[in-house]
């Protein structure tokens, strides 16, 4: 379709492409991009947040202390204790950090001025998934011994002739499927979310720019949808952080379990 674009829409990059997710380096560097800066900001803010809220703990918590404690308490009691049990409390700090970091980084997708999340670049979720992956392997190997761990997590009480069918499935499950789905689930949700926001927002500009009254009205609806999807994205951002942490906890639990 050959749309006559008015000046309003002339410089809108339409249609949105995958290039959006590969921002150029800052200051001529290949290594420092918008994403790395966002991750640094997230790390700094999280460190400051917990330092400020937990610096001077009181028996009767102040408001700030209550905020910090309720975030930690949520992951400690709501996820760690629930999934791993009492033995799992020592993982609560790791899981809380993971939860806070992923939530924050995800929320960059809707914070004005940033509006794209590092999680929508596969490298960031992949590194986080590898962390959890090594953690549950290490914990399993430490508790059961390496060979024993593989044996308990792969072998099932099943008739011997079923074992050859199940073995490759279990192996693929703990070696490949778990870390890959962990990373891809987070990445794909944020990637798709950003594309949806782009399509509705930029699409609104393009439709308004056509100068056709009917299409302009659709453009306004498109912007309305952009607002709705932004709220939806906020939910997705927190939900995905929760799911990531929940699954990490559940993998650690299955590594520690004596048998399945």
């Amino acid at each position: 379709m050959n749309l006559q674009l008015a000046p309003l829409a002339a410089d809108v990059p339409w249609p949105p492409s995958v290039g959006e997710f590969f921002p150029p380096g800052i200051g001529g560097s290949v290594w420092v991009t918008k994403f790395s800066v966002m991750v640094w900001i997230a790390v700094a803010v999280i460190i400051v947040f917990f330092l400020v809220t937990q610096r001077n703990p009181k028996i009767v918590p102040t408001k700030a202390q209550w905020l910090g404690e309720s975030v930690y308490g949520f992951v400690r009691n709501g996820i760690t204790k629930e999934v791993i049990g009492h033995e799992g409390i020592r993982f609560a700090p790791y899981l809380t950090t993971l939860f806070v970091f992923i939530s924050f980084v995800n929320l960059f997708a809707i914070i004005p001025g940033f509006q794209i999340s590092p999680s929508s670049h596969i490298a960031f979720p992949a590194v986080l998934a590898l962390l959890s992956f090594f953690l549950y392997w290490y914990q399993g190997a430490k508790k059961h011994g390496f060979g024993n761990y593989i044996k308990t997590s792969i072998l099932l009480p099943a008739p011997w002739w079923v074992q050859p069918i199940l073995l490759p499935i279990e192996l693929a499950q703990i070696l490949l499927i778990r870390p890959v789905t962990l990373a891809v689930r987070l990445f794909a949700n944020l990637f798709a979310g950003h594309l949806i926001l782009l399509v509705f927002t930029l699409g609104g500009f393009v439709l308004l720019g056509t100068g056709n009254i009917g299409l302009a009205a659709v453009g306004l609806i498109s912007w309305g949808m952009a607002v709705v999807m932004t709220l939806f994205e906020a939910g997705v951002a927190l939900l995905q952080a929760y799911v990531f942490v929940l699954l990490s906890a559940s993998y650690i639990q299955s590594s520690l379990a004596d048998e399945h």
């Binding site: 049990g85 009480p157 099943a158 199940l166 490949l176 004596d258 048998e259």
Partner: protein, 72 residues
């Protein structure tokens, strides 16, 4: 079984079980589909018959695992 002492098997949450089941199905169909495909290549089986059989075996294995692991 008998070895359960320090970490009892806990009831899993709904979403958790869902993801586990999905993972098994993906792993089963994927891995056995791949093995079937390799057999296809190796023996020149016509019409991707190996992939078909492989995926069915994988699916059956995955369902078996899900029932064994998560069935009460």
């Amino acid at each position: 079984m008998a070895g359960e002492n320090s970490t009892p098997k806990r009831p899993q949450s709904g979403a958790d079980m869902g993801w586990t089941a999905l993972g098994y199905l993906l792993a089963g169909i994927g891995v056995w589909g791949l093995i079937g495909w390799l057999v296809d290549r190796w023996l020149d089986v016509p019409m991707h018959f190996g992939v078909l059989v492989g995926m069915l075996i994988g699916m059956a294995g995955a369902v078996y695992l899900i029932v064994k692991r998560m069935g009460t």
